[in-house]
């Protein structure tokens, strides 16, 4: 392995890959986690790139900014002079860029785009779109300027668990259609990077049944396809309950009185119901956590943010990610 390709972790963050692919079931908060990871890895004067590929403009919405163009631009400052840049990869733009590189299409390319031909081309070959998207990610990950790499780390807000295997398995998809030519070569190059130790796929989940099931399935799938799974990131966890046991109504009433709160029958009954639901929920969460531990992968727990994910919340998540790394 050449020195320039060796995964490095100078900041000692525990996140040694250079390309971090973040997936998870819809609704688990993978975009927030990807953004927080990009912030965390940029701390200490480093530069990271946060990439999205599904045209959802999730990054722009998360940061409350205008939709991102197909262009790398400044997104946020990280502690101690670091910088996070962002890119929304668009398959059509990537194809035009790619064709320009090889065939100098120029104005003809723009005309084709107007006709919808580019959309058409990315549509007729199902794997082509994914090769173009991952190809752009590869280019950004391996780009150098002078002696230095353009980015210390690239974080990809990837498609959800249901589609991640197919998305990353670019060679298999294109091999079915393109047997020769630059697309085949391109997809082989992308596949080599994605399967190397430079890439880690992280799976974001909640302590809920379906996301945990999809996490377990996706990890089996990714492993079988030869991708390196990095960490299981458990999002929106709640602090443990110090007492952690069932409480009686009488006990609750005494407690409320001692705290100087109203302790009429409705309040006691309401709180008692909440406590019961809470315990059911916690027991389920414990058993789901045990299922995740069984996977034998490094696990990171992120706190539930009571006020939602704003900039302060992202900083909290970033800190938790580095601490846990």
């Amino acid at each position: 392995m050449r020195a320039a390709e060796r995964p490095t972790d100078p900041a000692g963050t525990g996140w040694s890959a250079r390309l971090h692919v973040v997936t998870g079931k819809g609704g688990t908060g993978k975009t927030s986690v990807a953004a927080a990871l990009a912030l965390a890895l940029a701390a200490g004067g480093r530069r990271t790139l946060l990439v999205e590929v599904e045209g959802r403009q999730g990054i722009a919405q998360l940061f409350g900014i205008d939709p991102l163009p197909y262009e790398e631009r400044h997104l946020a400052d990280a502690p101690d002079g670091g910088e996070v840049r962002a890119l929304a990869v668009d398959a059509e733009e990537a194809l035009l860029e790619y064709l320009d590189m090889f065939y100098k299409l120029g104005a003809a390319g723009r005309a084709l785009r107007k006709l919808g031909a580019i959309d058409f081309a990315t549509t007729i070959a199902p794997g082509l779109r994914d090769v173009l998207l991952t190809g752009k990610v590869k280019e950004a990950t391996t780009r150098t300027s002078g002696q230095r790499r353009a980015y210390d780390a690239v974080v990809l807000d990837a498609p959800p668990t249901g589609r991640i295997g197919r998305f990353l398995n670019v060679t298999a998809e294109t091999a079915r259609l393109a047997k020769v030519g630059p697309i085949k070569t391109q997809s082989e190059g992308v596949a080599a990077l994605l399967r190397s130790p430079m890439t880690a796929v992280h799976v974001v989940t909640l302590l809920e049944e379906m996301p945990v099931q999809e996490t377990v399935d996706a990890i089996a799938d990714l492993t079988a396809l030869g991708f390196g799974v990095g960490k299981v990131i458990v999002n929106a966890t709640r602090p443990p309950l110090p007492a952690g046991r069932a409480v009686t109504a009488a006990e609750l009433k005494r407690g409320l009185v001692a705290a100087g709160l109203p302790a009429d029958r409705e309040i006691v009954a309401g709180l008692h119901d909440e406590a019961r639901d809470q315990l059911i929920r916690r027991e389920l969460e414990d058993s789901l956590r045990a299922d995740l531990v069984e996977l034998g992968l490094p696990m990171v727990e992120l706190p539930l943010l009571p006020d939602g994910v704003d900039r302060a919340g992202l900083a909290t998540l970033a800190q938790a990610l580095v601490r846990a790394g």
Binding site: A108, P126, E209, V247, L252, G255, L271, I280, R281, P306
Partner: protein, 382 residues
């Protein structure tokens, strides 16, 4: 609650009982409980309203599928046993969409067996019928059209695919049928035919070049497969578009009710709002919004700050750890409830006339018929 005062209450039972409503489409972002909501509505229609109901699920969680008796993906509705329909006389059938099989059936229906075999063997068809972005949406529509045409059911409840965007369900069929109609395909495969006029010269020249580039980039084999596919499908082109348009019209009819499903999270609510706007543009009948997983404190008299402070006092005091735990959990719950109301209000402020109903979060996940019944009751009687 302010967010609920603003919107009229969605009366699900009225929709389920209305014999004029023959199709319910559940749509929304991924991970909001769409499949569970669809199954719960279908069960309630059968048990409470005596309707002969079929629920078309796309990708149900394994245990939910099992609870509906869906052990294999066989693309045919199966009657769900062990539900309580004695009094109502209703029936519940359930099926899981098999996208490839549905596509194969469409091909078989439109062409003779020899030609169908040729199409099935084409690598381009194989790739498209299983991985084309949008095939799942298109096939869900196709299946809905088929079930509707069979006329065997009083009510069809459809769950929509977990798309990139909920809007894909509306757009993908049109996109696919446009593609299969093959104007672009013909241009690509026979660029010379469309040329001649000066007005089109740039287009034609671009296309000739494009065709060459595609050959170079993807290899000539792809174009050969593609032209084989186009030739074989030639007789079916009109059919594809016609079917997609037919289903689209059914979705605009009075017999259809769209139910938006969301959770009180910014992304899910934003998606629901986009969808509501789109349905309005398309003149499609939006029945209302089901807001799942809403947290509601059972002791609303105590606010978050009050409870948190009391928990601190008890910890200092000692001897009341369990009560302090309960108060801390209550404070978190109350705070979450306030935030959820703010998020939900973004929808109700944008669409004040759309009826909405909130469903309280269940302590455990739902994966049996009893659980579905509870959800159905919660949607109907909040």
């Amino acid at each position: 609650m302010p967010s609920e005062d603003a919107a009229p209450q969605l009366d699900v039972d009225q929709i389920l009982a209305d014999p004029g409503v023959r199709i319910i489409v559940c749509c929304g972002a991924g991970g909001v409980g769409k499949t569970t909501t669809a199954a719960a509505l279908a069960l309630r229609a059968a048990e409470q309203h005596g309707r002969r109901t079929v629920v078309l699920t796309i990708d149900p969680a394994r245990r939910l599928a099992q609870s509906l008796g869906l052990t294999e993906l066989d693309n045919t509705p199966r009657q769900v046993k062990g539900i309580d329909v004695e009094a109502s006389g209703g029936e519940l059938h359930a099926m899981m969409l098999d996208m490839k099989r549905t596509f194969d059936d469409v091909v078989l229906q439109h062409t003779d067996p020899a030609k169908a075999a040729e199409i099935f063997a084409n690598p381009f068809y194989q790739a498209m019928s299983s991985t084309f972005a949008g095939t799942q949406e298109y096939m869900a529509m196709e299946k809905l059209g088929q079930l509707h045409a069979r006329g065997e059911w009083d009510l069809i409840v459809v769950d929509t695919p977990p798309s990139r965007s909920a809007l894909d369900f509306l757009d993908a069929p049109a996109r696919l049928s446009r593609f299969l109609d093959g104007r672009m395909l013909r241009l690509l495969l026979a660029p010379a035919r469309s040329g001649g006029r000066s007005m089109f010269s740039l287009v034609t020249a671009s296309f000739g070049m494009f065709s060459k580039v595609v050959q170079k980039v993807l290899g000539a084999q792809l174009l050969t497969d593609l032209s084989g596919f186009v030739a074989a499908l030639d007789s079916m082109f009109g059919g594809f578009r016609q079917r997609a348009e037919q289903t689209y019209r059914i979705l605009q009819a009075r017999e259809t009710a769209f139910v938006l499903v969301a959770a009180p999270e910014p992304d899910a609510v934003r998606e629901a709002a986009y969808f509501a706007g789109r349905l309005r543009e398309e003149k499609m009948p939006l029945a209302g919004l089901v807001l799942n997983r809403v947290h509601r404190p059972a002791a609303p008299e105590l606010d978050a700050e009050q409870s948190r402070a009391a928990a601190e006092r008890l910890t200092e005091l000692g001897g009341h750890e369990a009560t302090a735990d309960v108060l801390r959990a209550h404070a978190a719950l109350a705070r979450q409830a306030v935030r959820e109301q703010q998020v939900a209000a973004r929808f109700t402020e944008a669409f004040p006339a759309v009826p909405a109903v909130s469903v309280t979060a269940q302590p455990a996940d739902v994966h049996d018929v009893d659980g579905l019944r509870t959800i159905g009751a919660a949607i109907s009687r909040p």
